[in-house]
């Protein structure tokens, strides 16, 4: 294998790595927003539950969640035997806790007067959150969400350990085949940088600029 062929072999893993990362990001987003809203507006039992979720999944390593699902739940429930499903679920559930925190601080920065102004127009609390609070919080959250995607792209490498054919798996196949660790790992490092950089960098830039423009 020429170095180019080796690199192309690594590149073949990009769709899986990106797919798992973005799918778990979407799952984390879909769960993270309601958790943040429950924590802020939920009233005591729901808010405590959301808080417990956040604390739990922010303290437990992704790998623990992933192995528990795959080896633990997987032996009982069939669907967890699928390494792709399990990777997305475990990364997504952990990401939900991170994203909830990102949204909470973003919502906090929007301020109380905005809520009151929305309510005073006759919007319900739900309407105020939907039309006034979340759209602004979302802009504030963009840079944080960019870092979260970058983190997921990196953490998706854990799923190699339960057999997902992602970038780290390709790197290790390559290392075994070429008996060299240089190209496989330098090559994957370059690919990880190329994948994470646009999210972390452009979302940060875009979000920060938008915030400045709108005075958020």
């Amino acid at each position: 294998m020429t170095p180019l062929e080796q690199f192309l072999f690594l590149l073949k893993a990009v769709p899986v790595t990106l797919g798992i990362s973005l799918a778990s990001f979407a799952l984390g987003f879909a769960i993270g927003i309601p958790i943040a809203l429950l924590r802020i507006y939920g009233g005591s039992p729901l808010s405590l539950l959301a808080d417990a979720y956040e604390k739990l999944f922010r303290s437990v390593p992704v790998l623990v969640v992933m192995f528990f699902m795959y080896f633990g739940l997987g032996s009982v429930i069939h669907i967890f035997k699928d390494p792709y499903v399990t990777s997305i679920l475990s990364l997504g559930l952990v990401s939900a806790a991170n994203q909830s925190q990102i949204f909470r601080s973003a919502i906090g920065s929007v301020g109380k007067t905005q809520m009151m102004a929305a309510i005073s127009l006759g919007l319900t609390k739900g309407g105020a959150v939907r039309y006034v609070i979340l759209p602004q919080a979302f802009i504030v959250a963009i840079p944080g969400l960019g870092s979260e995607i970058a983190l997921l792209i990196k953490d998706s490498s854990y799923s190699f350990l339960i057999g997902v054919l992602e970038l780290m798996k390709h790197a290790s196949i390559l290392r075994a085949a070429t008996r060299s660790a240089v190209l496989p790992y330098i090559g994957s490092a370059i690919i990880y940088v190329a994948l994470t950089f646009p999210f972390a960098n452009y979302m940060d830039k875009w979000g920060s600029r938008k915030r400045r423009e709108l005075g958020l």
Binding site: Q114, A117, S120, L121, G122, G127, G215
Partner: protein
Amino acid sequence: MVARVLEGLDVWKVYGKTVAVAGVTIGINKGETKVIIGPSGSGKSTLLRCLGLLERPTKGRILFEGTDVYASKLDLSKLRAKIGFVFQDPSLFRHLTALDNVKLGLRRVLGLSEDEARRKALEALRLVRMEEWADHYPAQLSGGQQQRVGIARAIAMDPDIIIFDEPTASLDIELKWEVIEVMRDLAKRGTTMLVATHELHFAREVADEIIFMDHGKIVEVAPPEEFFKRPKTERARRFMARLLGGVTGW
């Protein structure tokens, strides 16, 4: 018969150990403009928030057009839509243009069509002389312009009363008058208004009644000529002396 629009009966609001409003009774009739003045911390904002149904009083009753708001099972959101509120702090929705700020309530609360909401919103912006700024975001507007859009946002809903909580307090001197002028126009057109303000020219010109508050209570109520010429209470006299000390051309 005079029509009571909004009434507070023995309203109390307590935050922890702070008694912000201590048994205030107040009523505003249709077409009236009442002005509340009083030192910082006297409970003006808290009282206005209670009357605007933005906060529930610890004790006491709020009557909107004769119905006891918290005793009835009325939908608070629906009532709030009939009470305009203009805040002291910048309160425009920062992700929306001036036009969209005014349109939001028309669309999402009153359920007007896009065209109808746009027409009404532009009309309200015209009234506050902000029509040309319709497409600007709050961050692109001066404080005075933002407050005028805030007023447009309130009047566009055709409320039965508009409550103003020191709408000029955080503005530079030269930006205050453009807001005051808009408020004066509104008062002269017969809008029912309850205004906390220290703008004495405005108060003297348009108020039907001055309400002086201190320590959460109404200390004095008087027509403006009387109040400004000779406040009856010592506390009001001292407050006015302090206020006038800082105002030129009075």
